[in-house]
């Protein structure tokens, strides 16, 4: 006997993501799902961001890694409240893991929650967490063809940060090619060039956060 099902494979995840979103909205949190390859500079970017946001928006981070609490430790040194999720074997965070972190954070005293996803350009794009925006970090040492190799990730993101631009002269990375490739996949994609070493682009990124926050909560 054949039974029609027509159920989205990730429906259960999406239901939990919607519930997370409600909790975040109630607490007036804007939530970003920050995704990239391992070693693209996500944690360094957040360290920079916390300082630049001071007096404007309060940052909190949920950080996913397969092992260790090193990233949360690094962030807390910068005064950023951080909850570490260790995923064990999973190569991405899912909505249920985020739900488990909610009670471990004082959400009411945070404006922007950044979920620092596990470094991976494939699976994190599949799992909604309850975020307002997906943001991607691509570092120049990874190569300018990445948008073509991992289209789903670039398609799903609202903003692309091209990071480590201080290293441009040591690589054959072409900013023009990277941006053209990304916009082929996603014509409206916003792009900001950043360096966590020189601080270039950080203020533009902070302005983006503040603008999006105002748009959401007025």
């Amino acid at each position: 006997m054949k039974i029609n099902v027509m159920t989205d494979v990730l429906e259960a995840n999406d239901r939990i993501a919607d519930a997370n979103r409600q909790v975040f909205d109630t607490n007036k949190n804007m939530v970003l799902n920050l995704m990239s390859s391992p070693g693209s500079g996500k944690t360094a970017l957040l360290e920079r961001t916390a300082g630049a946001l001071q007096g404007r928006l309060r940052l909190g981070v949920i950080v996913g890694d397969i092992e260790t609490t090193r990233d949360a430790d690094r962030l807390e040194k910068h005064g950023i409240p951080a909850v570490q999720l260790t995923t064990g074997t999973a190569c991405h965070l899912d909505a249920n893991m985020i739900a488990s972190a909610l009670s471990r954070m004082d959400l009411a005293s945070i404006d922007v929650v950044v979920v620092e996803n596990v470094g991976n350009l494939v699976c994190p794009a599949e799992f909604r967490l309850g975020e307002d925006f997906k943001v991607m970090v691509l570092s120049v040492t990874e190569g300018d063809e990445k948008p073509l190799k991992y289209p789903m990730m670039f398609r799903e993101s609202s903003l692309l940060l091209i990071n480590k631009i201080d290293l441009l002269s040591y690589t054959d990375f072409s900013m023009d090619a990277a941006k053209a490739n990304a916009r082929k996949i996603h014509p409206d994609l916003e792009i900001i060039d950043t360096s966590c070493v020189t601080g270039e682009g950080v203020s533009e990124w902070v302005e983006w956060l503040c603008r999006r926050y105002r748009e959401k909560f007025g």
Binding site: I3, N4, V5, M6, D8, V9, L10, A90, H92
Partner: protein, 110 residues
């Protein structure tokens, strides 16, 4: 692996609702954009279905091509080289109308 797990859960739940005792086949629509690797998903499906009524079921994966529709001229076209620009009017306001799905279509049970 999480995807395989979810497919097993959906199939077992659908079969249980119909009081079926065994799932023999699960058909999944896999959009091109989801970049599913069939051999890998089939392997994980086999592992995740162990000790469930879907153990031993055949996993059928139906690839769904990526199709876009231009918001300006209405042209529908196969998306090639991941370029989301209308081949007709070069408009950039393109909606993807298929190829993004990952869905359990139907199951066969005994």
């Amino acid at each position: 692996m999480a995807i395989a797990r979810s497919i097993v859960d959906i199939a077992v739940a659908a079969a249980s609702r119909e009081n079926a005792s065994r799932v023999v086949r699960v058909n999944v629509l896999a959009g091109e954009l989801r970049a599913i690797i069939p051999a890998q998903l089939i392997l994980y499906f086999g592992l995740m279905s162990q000790d469930t009524i879907a153990e031993g079921a055949h996993l059928g994966l139906e690839n769904v091509a990526l199709v876009g529709r231009c918001g300006r001229c209405g042209k529908e076209f196969d998306v090639k080289d991941d370029s989301l620009v209308c081949p007709e009017c070069h408009g950039q306001d393109v909606q993807m109308i298929s190829g993004t799905e990952l869905r359990v279509k139907d199951i066969e049970v005994e």
